[in-house]
């Protein structure tokens, strides 16, 4: 029971700390960064569900992000749908595309899958660039409405400042985390990991890999689309840039550095890289150069060469050594 109590206490402290952040740090730019870190955490968690738990390398994840953003923005601007519903609508539309991408992905693996998914994202990016009536092309959709206020009795919560969005994004990350943890811990998750470790072995115990791959593609896309919706109503600008390859590369770098195939890894990776990249950006004034992405590339290579399990692995091993040393 005490272990459980400690766990609950830990959660309570974490939640309280998360709640307090905007009161401690009032800098709006910093809060902006934190919100983006949250959005990237969701993207990284969802990408990792596919790559880390089923071994499918999707290099078109940014497409789902973009689809979610456009869907939510267009619905809000043209039909007046509540942005709150738009978030989920964005997720659902992305999920449909995920299912569509899942079908060819069933027959492909490794470089073939990688290039097909890149192609998928690039084609959609070109559609976003060129379907001007719907997307306003490369200008993008600006003036996406803010999230609408929530009224609870007399209390009204407005969504105007970064700190308001901070609470939304924390809630969204926790929601995503909850869902993905439930999925991974369940029979579903064990099935996925079985498939990843040995597909023929998995078939021999009655697992139909195709149907599971489709399901994971769909779920992974849903959360990316959801993150896209959040971004749309936060940044208020949606452009084809969202679907670009470098966004996917950012996501995969975060996941790899954090630790592929773990739950803590993507969170750790997204948060630490966002902070690192801001630290490097501030150094830009001193160095006069932007070395942010150079560091990304270098870290990605070094992670794969020297720390296969990412930061999570390093922390785990250090912890084990500290404990063993005592």
């Amino acid at each position: 029971m005490s272990a459980r109590l400690r766990k609950m206490l830990l959660w309570a402290v974490t939640l309280a700390a998360l709640f307090m952040v905007p009161y401690v740090v009032e800098d709006r730019y910093f809060m902006h960064i934190v919100v983006m870190a949250g959005i990237f955490t969701i993207l990284t968690l969802s990408w990792n569900l596919l790559a880390g738990y089923t071994g499918q390398l999707n290099l078109g994840h940014a497409a789902f992000y973009g689809i979610g953003a456009y869907t939510s923005a267009i619905l809000a601007m043209q039909t007046g749908l509540s942005p709150w519903l738009g978030l989920f609508a964005g997720g659902l539309v992305a999920a449909v595309f995920g299912l569509m991408l899942g079908f060819p992905a069933l027959r492909l693996s490794g470089p073939y899958l990688a290039i097909t998914t890149i192609g998928f994202a690039e084609i959609l990016r070109l559609v976003a660039m060129n379907w001007v009536e719907l997307t306003r092309g490369s200008l993008g959709l600006s003036g996406v409405p803010l999230l609408t206020p929530i009224k609870i009795g007399d209390f009204t919560m407005q969504f105007y400042f970064e700190r308001d969005y901070y609470y939304v994004v924390v809630a969204a990350v926790l929601f995503t985390l909850f869902c993905i943890r439930r999925l991974i811990g369940s029979e579903f998750g064990v099935t996925l990991q079985a498939m990843r470790d040995d597909e023929a072995g998995a078939q021999s115990i009655g697992i139909n890999p195709s149907s599971y791959k489709l399901a994971v593609f769909t779920i992974s896309a849903f959360f990316a689309g959801f993150a896209g919706g959040l971004f749309a109503h936060f940044a208020r600008l949606v452009s084809p840039e969202l679907l670009a390859l470098h966004n996917t590369f950012d996501i995969l770098t975060m996941a790899m550095i954090g630790g592929l195939g773990t739950i803590a890894g993507p969170i750790l990776g997204a948060v630490s890289l966002t902070i690192l990249s801001e630290a490097l950006r501030s150094m830009e004034e001193v160095l006069k150069i932007d070395i942010r992405l150079i560091v990304y590339g270098l870290l990605l290579i070094l992670t794969i060469l020297f720390m296969r399990e990412g930061l999570v692995g390093v922390i785990k091993n250090t912890w084990a050594r500290v404990k063993g040393g005592r």
Partner: protein, 297 residues
Amino acid sequence: MVPVMDSLFLQQVLNGLITGSVYSLIAIGLTMIFGVMKISNFAQGDYSMVGAYTAVFVMAWVGGWLGWIGSVVAAAAVVGLLGVVTERLVFRPLMTRWTDIDMIMVSIGLFILLDNLAQLFFGATPRMIGDPFGGVTVNLGVASTSLLRLFCFFFAGITIFCLELFLNRSRMGVAIRATSQNRFAAQLMGIDINQVYRITFGVGALLAGVGGVLYGTLFAIYPTMGALPTLKAFAVTILGGMGNVRGAIWGGLILGVAEALGGNYIAMEYKQAIGFFIIILVLLVKPSGLFGRKEGA
């Protein structure tokens, strides 16, 4: 109307063949590296970028058509060396415990690194390689093109021809082909596998470097230009069958022509996507590529 259409058509085919020959060159490097080492190198286009910038500097130094040819040689040397170094430092350590995902990821890391190092060193302003022939055009009767573009086409052809000679005539060339067909048997022949890896990667990068000079001659040069040749090279490689050198030659020409025609007759905006449409179709219909054999059991 019809004759006009026809000449436009032939013009586009010619343009496509010229661009396609450059695609072939870059893709051959990619397909060789895949065939021998089973590495999908997403940084291949960045080798081309480095080659293109090498040319920019050599041209600024020497100039004229001598400078152009000198820059091809310099690019081959610089990028070949870069290939050997990255193979040793980045890819070799993974050869014994690699998975598809690791190899792709590490090459993506290299891609991000090279892309941004180039931005750091070369700045974001696009560069051009000057026309050493002063913009002379050649009329081939049905279609016309600049002497420079024609020169690119022949140069790509000559490079591919030299490569074919190397692969078919030289001891090491045959050893490279042998290793890609059966690594174990190659070892039993006394072939030093690590040497084969080194040379394959060096030659593969060298081809991308030379391809980069030609690519830079046809299009603009900027630090992040590497993504396009990488993606084109993958499209070509899948079209021709991964690991198949001859397939990559044809695949490049087909993609070049398809893009030129598609861009002209279907939709200019989607020109860059044509390659993807083709590979998605190819993968769905015949995953081993148009010229591929079935992968061995």
